[in-house]
């Protein structure tokens, strides 16, 4: 890949041109510092596993220096890599300080070598992949495809967006929600009527309407509410039919009922 890079002659003087030729100047041709390092490493003419990282760091730093002297602007990441390589170089050259922790220069160098080898391996793999037989170029799919006849069967479908919107809708309280009775906790007027009819005949004296609530329903607030409402409505129904009398001594006092006088109840 480095081969098809443009070698740009930047300067006029012979000395500078010679210097420029020693390096591949066109930074534009590189895909980042790692790519540049990989290209520089080829000048060592050894297997990537044998490469001298110290030497490579020096080559890179020399390149950056040269680029500076030629007033070529380098992107920030090239400079960051230069700083890091300068640090690596010092670690490789100086004996490690006993107090210093962190990875050794050798560890860092080995990792850089690994990165270079891995990048090269991916480049090679990409080339091998693209060299494979490819559909539409080397082998071909069926040119004539048959229309499949329409038969009426229905399949249901939905998109991911439908799914997410549905979920969002459910989890959003202010959404309209169809009104549905909570059947388990609902005491209907019909039920209350049945119950009252069968009990009220025994009620010769005024008795609290609340005593006619079905067993257990007075415990849970929600159930007590629905049972009270249903029983009250049923009692009004029975008053209307003339079966019972109803009274409330004062506001918010208990409501009382009893069987209507002179009636068979």
């Amino acid at each position: 890949m480095a081969e098809d890079m443009v070698h740009k002659v930047v300067n006029e003087t012979v000395a500078e041109r010679l210097a420029a030729e020693a390096l591949i100047v066109d930074v534009e041709g590189f895909e980042g510092p790692l790519d540049l390092l990989l290209t520089l490493s080829r000048t060592q003419k050894v297997d990537l596993r044998q490469i001298s990282i110290l030497h490579l760091a020096e080559q890179y730093l020399a390149f950056v220096e040269q680029a500076r002297s030629l007033r070529i602007e380098l992107a920030a990441d090239y400079l960051v890599m230069a700083a890091w390589l300068a640090f690596l170089k010092s670690r490789l050259l100086l004996p490690p300080e006993p107090s210093e922790d962190g990875p050794s220069g050798e560890d860092l160098a080995a990792h850089l070598a690994f990165q270079l080898e891995r990048l090269q391996a991916m480049r090679d793999s990409a080339a091998r992949l693209m060299a494979r037989d490819q559909k539409g170029r080397d082998f071909f799919a069926r040119g004539h495809t048959e229309q499949v006849e329409r038969t009426r069967s229905v399949t249901y479908t939905a998109t991911l967006m439908d799914l997410m919107q549905a979920y969002a809708r459910i989890r959003t309280k202010d959404e309209f929600r169809p009104f549905v009775m909570d059947r388990k906790n609902l005491y209907t007027m019909e039920e209350a009527l049945d119950r009252l009819r069968s009990l009220v005949g025994y009620a010769g004296e005024w008795t609290d309407l609340m005593s006619y609530l079905p067993d257990g329903w007075e415990l849970d607030p929600m159930r007590r509410r629905t049972a009270t409402a249903a029983t009250f409505a049923a009692s009004l129904e029975l008053v209307k039919a003339g079966k019972i009398s109803i009274r409330q001594p004062e506001s918010f006092a208990p409501i009382q009922i009893r069987a209507a006088e002179g009636r068979d109840g």
Binding site: H144, A158, Y167, R171, T172
Partner: protein, 217 residues
């Protein structure tokens, strides 16, 4: 390659063997959308090849097979054997949008799986009809999961690989979370408190016993 117009027998280049010519005709007829004329075949094959003979061999080879080499006007093509036309009929099906109840139920199962019917009803706030669940089961988008180890041992529902496939998901965990839904403007309110999927594994109307919990996957 075929730079000369010399007749076959005088050709400097030997024609490929007949078997090879058959392969060539086979590939051309397969890959070309329109029927191909003899002249076209000859023009595309190497010099000295004889499309008529190769076609004859190929036609014999495909006799009685699932596809046949057929003549269409002045040209040739490979077509499905007429007796197998019925295989080409099943495919197109009318697609309809899932009902709102079904899509909501499906969404809850996808986000909360494994989830019992009672939990689905709690989250939706309405009861879930048997038909809705059956439809999703029939579409093979949901299936029965393990039974919940709670009183009544209610069955749970989970989504299937078919569901993931349809929605292009690698796993149900890849569904956007509530935070992402909210970021996308699909969700405004905070989730209702106390909605841990495990917290309310109790009341259920008791699933029919015929549904055995399948082994874990």
């Amino acid at each position: 390659m075929a730079e000369t117009d010399l007749p076959e027998e005088e050709s400097l280049f030997e024609a490929p063997p007949l078997g090879e010519q058959e392969r060539m005709v086979e590939a051309i007829l397969f890959a070309t959308s329109e029927p191909v004329s003899i002249a076209d075949l000859n023009a595309r094959m190497p010099h000295g090849a004889d499309a008529v003979r190769a076609l004859e061999g190929l036609r014999k080879r495909y006799e009685g097979r699932g596809v046949n080499v057929v003549r269409i006007g002045e040209a040739w093509a490979i077509r499905t054997a007429p007796d197998l036309g019925f295989l080409m009929q099943k495919e197109t099906v009318e697609t309809r949008k899932l009902s709102r109840a079904a899509i909501e139920t499906l969404a809850i199962i996808a986000y909360h799986q494994p989830v019992t019917r009672a939990e689905i009803e709690e989250i939706r706030g309405v009861s879930v009809s048997r038909g809705t669940v059956d439809q999703l089961l029939e579409m093979e988008w949901i299936k029965f999961g393990r039974r919940r180890m709670t009183p009544g041992r209610p069955v749970t529902y989970v989504v299937t690989p078919g569901f993931l496939d349809h929605f292009g998901l690698e796993s149900a965990r890849d569904l956007p979370g509530l935070r992402e839904l909210r970021a996308a403007g699909l969700l405004d309110n905070r989730p209702r408190p106390g909605f841990g999927p495990e917290e309310r594994a109790d009341e259920d109307e008791g699933q029919p016993d015929m549904f055995e919990a399948p082994p874990d996957e």
